[in-house]
Subunit: 455 residues, 2 copies
């Protein structure tokens, strides 16, 4: 293919970003603060430090410092699996016969299979630096738990993972990867915590939820000497760490002399999307450039497109701080036929504020169309994508096909967050033609909105 | 870490090799030719072309041309997942506290999870070029079948895979990846072939073997219009395609100004080892440089270290040409507790000849020590290795520890052929402490040697 743009662009180690970018620093209207669930007052550093280690609590509260140095130890770890490639999707373009130029930032080339490792190593590092013994967390599909297990194995930290029971049973291999990395994995809800026992009593036979696993992990962290809680998405500190995705993408584009027109990412709690768009959004906020930014979410868990922008509980047990976000209510659980991730009831406060100010768009897509896009992509670009990532693929293809109609040569960037090697049960359903779609009714959402706290 | 060598070295697209290297051209004593199983005469081009497509049959017979151009279409495909990184294992070195410098060439960053894709795309390309409708093959652990499915999906070729029944049942996710890429996967032995029916009649309840799956795939290819058979290892054409691994490694070392002292690879049929060592062996054969080269095989399937160098059947059904190789006899089947791949009864004729001339060494290792090395490696270098690759890791660690004793600063290169994401059943056995070792007795081997053909 006669083109000067290589299939893959890698930064050199010298070109890799040495600082994270904190998009909140450039936001005129700051994201709403986390509130103490008892007093409804903003969480203080001391209060947050009970749950998170000190440095991370500071990062969570810091909405003014634009660039934060990445510690050397984290840079060394990043060098083991980063930079990730910025890939030109020549084969996909050819198949679609589109004048659009499609790029994707591929975060799946590491054993966790996703971008989650970018924040896992950061959170584990600060815990180690504080002299802690270990960390606790929850995991749903298992990508975050795997990433954290890897980071903790590397640093010699204990790692206790509460894994949503249905995933624990359906994804024994994910569980086994975490065990190989030395993590202690417990199906949630469990008998090991007060909140777990309470939920089991109220809902015997429940297969668990992310919100419930969060409650258990937080309880263990706050009641065990030398432990803190860590979380793989939603939090502002996570978006800060994940900005490495966008910073590398932007540096690679600058190297190529290319500027994207449209940036597309899947959105569950917002970790990947927030990281991917951060430096581009920064330019937009500073009036230096303009980009069309699109969040893609499942139609079965539509927090941006059908949620309310309100303070809500972050977990089922209601032990966490309250966050203002686009939310479906903490009682919302996606229907049983929902196959992929992106199942959290709320959305990052940072992204929620940017979306509310109309600095980005959001669309929702149904899962059979997502797996159809995933299969097409796999066959022509060679990478078997995670169901989550495939939401972005679906919309990138849609936008490229619009360019085909209009003849516009737009440059599209999307985030390919990970691989689908542990999601073959969902692929099998699609291959067998028995995957179904689901869109919650207005009545169903009204019911879950009723769980929003009275403020 | 104060060092000028980066963690990962990638060639640029311009630096990627444009030709494969055919090590046979530099061998004074050529590998013994394939023989017609009926006449015991060397297979002619016309005879081979019944089984393989014409260009591949020519490559199989060509032991004089040192460099063969890689067609543009294959180069384009290579650019989607290559170059693979040459990685400096800084963290492993630090953990071992060794003065040795350890490098690995990592071939696992593609959806097939291994180096197999390097030859799959080549074989599918030549089939397509000849105007064929499709190809047939066998697969054991599933890496080769996945790679071939990917290549065929990309080129629009039919792909029929005979998968060893025990793997088909135990690795439903591998099977599902192949189906996602549009392949037709049949458990072997099956009722779809004469040889399958015969084997099922003689051994009802058999869980299959590679040799049996080969027989079925060859039968279908030679009896179906527009089909040919392809194979992922053992053949000289496969080693030719896999030379891309060694050529890239050598180019990256040259770029760094480094020369390895010891080169280590796992050996089943020889595809990875042969590819990795080819250009280095070429220098050795031409007297330009010297390297210590070590093949690592499972103690439970020790074709190099305990096999006979003799003509043998390549398959159970005895429909394939005879090959001279280090072999345990085509009747050999590794014991049921053998967890990883590397289970073929024979070894590449090229490598067998080089080993026989003492141009390389071979060692065998037991599987619990292999998984112990795999777990150590995963925890410190971040990559969860395939059981096959972990054989090389084990011996690389052993050699690095010898350097620690002697104080020698040797440079070690090993091939990390792939990832273990679909091997978690084996990892689980290791994690649970119930994995066992097995070394076949002399009596057992004597029995399987009895299946060698009378020449």
């Amino acid at each position: 293919m006669a083109n000067n743009i290589p299939y893959k662009t890698y930064l050199t180690e010298e070109e890799m970003p040495k600082q994270w970018y904190n998009v909140r620093a450039d936001m005129k209207k700051k994201p709403a603060p986390l509130l103490n669930p008892g007093t409804h007052q903003p969480m203080t550093l001391d209060e947050l430090s009970v749950v998170f280690c000190r440095d991370l609590a500071e990062q969570e509260l810091d909405d003014t410092t634009p660039y934060i140095d990445i510690p050397d130890e984290i840079l060394s770890f990043y060098k083991m699996y980063r930079p990730s490639p910025l890939v030109r999707a020549y084969c996909l373009e050819k198949m679609l016969d589109t004048p659009a130029k499609i790029y994707y930032k591929f975060e799946g080339n590491n054993t966790s299979g996703s971008h989650k490792l970018n924040s896992a190593i950061a959170q584990a590092y600060y815990a180690k630096k504080q002299g802690l013994k270990g960390v606790t967390t929850e995991t749903g599909a298992g990508q975050w738990g795997t990433a954290l297990s890897m980071a903790c194995a590397y640093l010699g930290l204990d790692c206790k993972v509460y894994m949503v029971k249905v995933s624990y049973e359906q994804k024994p291999f994910r569980r086994e990867v975490m065990r190989t990395y030395g993590a202690d994995v417990t199906p949630s809800p469990s008998e090991t915590t007060n909140v777990g026992r309470k939920i089991l009593e109220e809902h015997p036979g429940t297969t668990g939820s992310l919100g419930c696993a969060i409650s258990e992990a937080v309880e263990v962290a706050t009641s065990t000497e030398g432990y803190r809680y860590v979380l793989g998405s939603v939090l502002s500190q996570v978006l800060l760490h994940q900005s490495i995705i966008g910073l590398e993408s932007k540096a690679a584009f600058d190297k190529l002399g290319v500027k994207p027109d449209i940036i597309i990412g899947c959105a569950g709690g917002g970790s990947n999307l927030g990281g991917l768009i951060s430096p581009f959004m920064g330019e937009k906020l500073r009036g230096e450039a303009d980009y069309r930014i699109i969040a893609v979410e499942p139609a079965s868990c539509p927090s941006f497109t059908r949620g309310k922008y309100a303070y809500d509980f972050c977990d089922t047990g209601k032990v966490c701080p309250l966050a203002k976000m686009y939310t479906l209510g903490s009682g919302f659980i996606p229907s049983a036929n929902h196959a992929g991730g992106l199942r959290y009831h709320g959305m990052s406060s940072v992204l929620s504020e940017l979306y509310d100010e109309k600095l980005m768009e959001a669309v929702s897509v149904e899962q059979t169309s997502v797996f159809d896009a995933a299969q097409k992509f796999a066959r022509i670009e060679g990478i078997l994508p995670a169901p989550e990532s495939s939401h972005a693929i679906k919309v990138a293809i849609d936008e490229a096909l619009k360019c085909k109609e209009t003849g516009e040569e737009k440059t599209i960037l999307f985030g390919l967050t990970g691989t689908g090697y542990f999601d073959m049960v969902a692929y099998q359903k699609f291959n067998d033609g028995i995957m179904t779609d689901y869109i919650p009714s207005d009545e169903e959402l009204a019911k879950s909105f009723a769980s929003l706290p009275q403020m």
